[in-house]
Amino acid sequence: MNQDRIQRLVREITETCEGQTAIRLMEVCGTHTVALFRSGVKSLLPKSLRLISGPGCPVCVTPQGYVNAACDVAGRPGVTVCTYGDMVRVRGRDGSLADCRGRGARIVTVYSARDALKYARQHPDEQVVFLAVGFETTAPTTAAVVMEAARGSIGNFFVLMGHKLALPAMMYLLESPEFPIDGFICPGHVSVVIGAHAYQPIVQRYRKPCAVTGFEPAQMLEGILSLVRQVARGEARVDNVYGTAVSDAGNPVARACMYDVFEIAPATWRALGNLPGSGLELREPYRRFDAAARFELETHEDFEPPGCRCGEVLQGKLEPHGCNLFGTVCNPANPIGPCMVSSEGTCAAWYKYGPPKKG
């Protein structure tokens, strides 16, 4: 794991942070949160450098209303819900999809939206609803599959739209004066699709440095070093440390597919509320695939279980240890809120890899 390089980077980061007031960097992507912990990188960094987890886990930012709608439709006769595995244990008002399965609903875990469409083709007597959750890494794949369903005139395949866009959430957080963020570790694979250039508005409008990195520890440290140097020098630009995986332009075919099928719309983020221009809905030619319309489902309502502070955690306002439920009532075996349910949720990462809770 090129230890020399890691040690050198940690040294340079520490030197750059000396004499600086506390620097707060936000990592947006759930996979980065886990990688930073798991690799031990987090513990090597100087104490004055705070790494804050943001709303980068698609499951975590899905409002409870969406889960309620998924459970509702799953319980209807003739319906099969196809979903990514991570959604299965998130609790709605009447339990999780796993609980629905226990009550007889047909829930199929899939690796790809393609699998869901394949299933629909193979089971023409079932109404298949695919839970379309995820950021820009995943949204184009849903779009491609909706296009395929349209070409094939598939009448029993529907998508329950829950896709969200990363940048609007990042900008929403920058608008909050209470908890300043000095720079962003930008989501790696979202950037493969949207391109490094997409973060220019954050640099131009807010003068905050951005670094696009992969998940390998030395890479993340390169990104963090770039950010602290920029902060120390009062600079603001997008630095792409992820190499050829991410280009400035991203993947234009994927984006074109996404925006052919979807249009930008307001979306409800768990505990952040309704953010304009932060979600995706089906465009008119594809509306017949909209599960919310077909089954009369309402997905945008939000609700926080009593005592659950996922909302504050998602905004970087609270660390998991600050939540009374963390580690006691709320743990991976019995998750109360989404930050603990998802394997990439901040609380799950802290529970598994973080320091022990005091007191």
Binding site: I107, T137, H189, F215, V253
Partner: protein, 98 residues
């Protein structure tokens, strides 16, 4: 490869390319090798991909080509982080869980 991870894309090598099965206009399908396991991957979002290319794959779709060194580095990290194991499930097809 666990179906849980919505952020992570995984590198694999294109062994062969065929025309799409069910969807003639859907672009090509690739047989991609992930260190021994072979998975059918859509090239609809990366039509420029060619046989022999390393590609970053997410949720059944190739999203980007990588160079050899980067692909290996990413795979090593994913192995070490136990996100992937040496082999994958066969075709990633939906299997109803009872």
């Amino acid at each position: 490869m666990k179906g849980n991870n919505m952020c992570l894309a995984v590198p694999g090598k294109i062994l062969s390319i065929t025309s799409s099965g069910d969807d003639p206009l859907g672009g090509q399908l690739a047989l991609v090798d992930f260190q021994g396991s072979r998975v059918e991957v859509s090239l609809q979002l990366l039509p420029s991909a060619r046989e022999g290319d390393w590609v970053l794959v997410h949720a059944g779709f190739a999203l980007q080509t990588l160079n050899d060194a980067e692909a290996r580095e990413l795979w090593e990290y994913l192995l070490e982080a136990e996100v992937v194991s040496g082999t994958l499930g066969e075709t990633g097809e939906a299997v109803p869980e009872v």
